[in-house]
């Protein structure tokens, strides 16, 4: 009898815990998604405007800094969720940086040494690890954290410490305030708001009735909130919003609700391609065919493996980079050749690679990696940054983000019948 009672109590506690877990998000998942969101959110392109052309001059930046004169060494702390639910963000940030190391050495005569730090996807751990890197390892610069939550947590610490801070994937707008002086942060990814602005232009075309599917974690929710704020600021309305837990097996109920709301323009604010695949399957199942379908670059992960050409037909993916151009696609090919597998988060590779090149160039210009002010000023003064053939002109002359706010410089992509990404030009 006593055991029956104890089983009953244990079962009740278990059920209550399950109920509680259903009501909230998993923090770590949140973070992971947030980063992914960040990292892969559609970005806006300032560099494209800057050059847009993928000119391919490999020597431009080197010429700027008449570099390889002296051998310089810089130590960079790379921070990300090495363990936890989203290790691929750390792996691809790190690998993107690593791919640039030999190029930096050759172009600028700067040897980049990497010290890895695992923030476990946790803001608290990120804070501890960043302080260790700054105070014990005495790194000359920091790359990461890869996720927005941890990056937000360490922003003040790094600004106080006064070391160059290279932000790769994390895209939350709040991470970097533009009005700090001196400002040690440099973004190599678009911000969430830049992505939302471009996406909103597409979604609200011609008086569309707009709905948003969002994953119930950091990435999806931050995109939802940003889109709602943007719509409100523009005097437009979002007719329906449907959230769901990542990995939900069946989403037909959410799709039917969207259909019932009369939505004909859909935004997938979802942090991974497999959940978007579940959504488009459900859309085909219930016969929901919106005329406009917008996804972020997060859809690249695994989506076309799990969906069919009929299901991905018409989905548009805005991004500040031409995902099919040599600069981006070529880098992804190099990644695959080097590591024997394609990147899981290509959108984390490119910004980290860009950051390493910019930092190496700045160290060469400053002449000493420990001259932190000199390196910061050199980063701000970069006139041309050549990223695998794409040249960014004066990327940090007016703000802290490599991409500018011009929607016209973004690229719109779709999937062809084979599931390959195709660029179809610029918005409008």
């Amino acid at each position: 009898m006593q055991r029956a009672r104890s089983i009953r109590v244990a079962a009740f506690i278990t059920a209550a815990a399950l109920l509680a877990s259903a009501c909230g998000d998993d923090e770590s998942t949140d973070d992971a998604d947030a980063e992914s969101a960040t990292e892969e959110t559609v970005a806006d392109t300032e560099e494209a405007e800057a050059t847009d052309a993928e000119s391919a001059s490999d020597t431009t930046a080197a010429e700027d800094t008449d570099a390889p004169a002296a051998e310089l060494t810089a130590t960079v702390g790379v921070v990300g969720p090495k363990s936890g639910v989203a290790p691929h963000y750390f792996v691809d940030s790190l690998r993107g940086f690593e791919l640039a190391v030999p190029i930096v050495e050759e172009r600028y005569g700067v040897t980049l040494e990497i010290i890895e730090a695992d923030d476990e996807g946790s803001p608290e751990v990120a804070s501890r690890e960043v302080q260790r890197l700054l105070n014990e390892e005495e790194v000359d610069a920091l790359l990461g954290p890869a996720q927005s939550g941890p990056a937000l947590q360490v922003a003040e610490i790094i600004q106080r410490a006064g070391r160059p801070w290279l932000l790769s994937v994390a895209a939350a707008d709040q991470i970097l305030a533009e009005d700090i002086d001196p400002n040690w942060g440099f973004r190599f990814q678009n911000t969430n708001q830049q992505a939302i602005d471009v996406t909103a232009d597409l979604l609200f075309e011609e008086g569309n009735t707009v709905g948003i599917f969002y994953s119930a974690e950091g990435y999806g929710q931050s995109n939802l909130e940003s889109m709602k704020a943007t719509a409100e600021a523009r005097g437009q309305e979002i007719a329906a919003e449907e959230g769901f837990e990542p990995g939900t097996p069946d989403l037909t109920s959410a799709v039917r609700r969207m259909q019932d709301a009369g939505v004909n323009s859909v935004f997938f604010a979802v942090s991974n391609g497999s959940d978007i695949a579940t959504l488009v399957k459900a859309m085909e199942q219930v016969g929901f065919e919106p005329t406009t379908k917008i996804a972020t670059v997060t859809i690249q992960n695994e989506f076309t493996d799990l969906a069919t050409p009929e299901q991905w037909d018409g989905i548009q993916i805005p991004d500040p980079r031409d995902l099919t151009g040599e600069s981006y696609a070529g880098l992804m090919a190099t990644y695959e050749e080097t590591y024997g597998e394609p990147p899981l988060v290509g959108a984390a590779v490119y910004p980290s690679y860009s950051a390493a090149l910019a930092y190496g160039q700045a160290v060469a210009a400053a002449g000493d990696a420990t001259d932190y002010d000199g390196v910061r000023l050199a980063l701000e003064g970069i006139e041309e940054l050549d990223v695998n053939g794409r040249v960014f002109e004066s990327p940090f002359a007016t703000d802290r983000t490599i991409y500018d706010n011009s929607a016209a410089s973004w690229y719109i992509h779709i999937f062809d019948e084979n599931g390959e990404i195709v660029s179809i030009g610029h918005p409008g």
Partner: protein, 290 residues
């Protein structure tokens, strides 16, 4: 409403299939495998490996994918559950060891296979089918149909065969069963093997539809546990009833108020059942000698 009920029923039956893995072990050993989701993923990865060998027929891919988690299940019971379950029924350290096993397996899978979602290329039922005015995914229909067949078969084995008699005897009183010449340990290991074989089968069927990743089982696990609790952890037919009630509740609520509320409603239902009928709708009260 009719469409929601029907779609919810099919989804619920899929959860029933997974829940059978919980119920089978609980009936005979009063233990559960909280690493069930990872066992499903292991089955998927075994199938992925076997399917990549062109000369291995699909039936052997399925057989291998079911056999590996099944054998692992037997070993898990022997090494990580039985020593921590004690004889009195008050020892629940097995709960900790199976949860720990879940974390270990998850990390091993992620480190070994990465977190990427992969395509499992085994024969599946592609596309959609319309039955009685409602359109379903064919693969989900297959999983739901198999759930009914397998649960019914398990129930018949338990009630109508000598193996079932032994299982029930061990469940009732292992000491008395032992005096009658039944080996409680063999029965328990056999049950764990059967339960993890079921988990492996669902793992392959589901991952061939939704994609394979180390975390694939997590999405199903909470729903499956809820189904097992609602139906009764000591009742095999209970998983079908629990699955239907859970599936319909979550789907109808999700359709009326949003998907997130559907999950909340399903788990609220679990709480209600536990309060009103702690042993589940079809379960029997477990009395333990003290």
């Amino acid at each position: 409403m009719y469409e929601s009920v029907m779609l919810g029923a099919v989804t619920g039956l899929m959860f029933s299939f997974v829940a059978l893995g919980f119920v089978l072990t609980f009936i005979t050993t009063k233990t559960l495998n909280f690493a069930l989701g990872e066992f499903m993923a292991i089955a998927g990865f075994v199938a992925l490996g076997l399917a990549s060998v062109s000369w291995i027929p699909a039936v052997l891919v399925f057989a291998g994918a079911i056999a590996v988690p099944a054998l692992l299940g037997g070993a898990t019971y022997h090494v990580l559950v039985r020593p921590f379950a004690g004889g009195s029924g008050h020892d629940v350290r097995w709960l900790l060891t199976t949860v720990a096993l879940s974390f270990v397996l998850l990390n091993l899978l992620i480190n070994g296979q990465s977190a990427k979602v992969r395509v499992l290329d085994v024969p599946t039922a592609d596309g959609f089918a319309t039955l009685l005015g409602v359109t379903y995914s064919k693969q989900l229909l297959v999983i739901a149909g198999l759930a009914v067949v397998v649960v019914t078969a398990a129930h018949l084995v338990l009630e109508k065969t000598s193996v079932g008699v032994k299982m029930r005897a061990v469940s009732e009183d292992p000491e008395m069963a032992s005096l009658a010449g039944i080996s409680p340990r063999a029965v328990a290991i056999g049950t764990w093997i059967a339960a993890m074989a079921v988990a492996g089968l669902v793992g392959v069927l589901w991952s061939s539809y939704a994609g394979l990743s180390p975390r694939m089982g997590l999405a199903l696990l909470i729903g499956a546990f809820a189904v097992a609790v609602i139906g009764g952890l000591t009742s095999v037919p209970g998983v079908l009833l629990g699955g239907l009630i859970y599936g319909i509740t979550t789907y109808v609520t999700g359709y009326q108020f949003g998907a997130a509320w559907g999950d909340v409603a399903g788990l609220a239902l679990v709480v209600v059942v536990l309060v009103l009928r702690p042993h589940g709708l079809l379960g029997r009260r477990v009395e333990v000698k003290v």
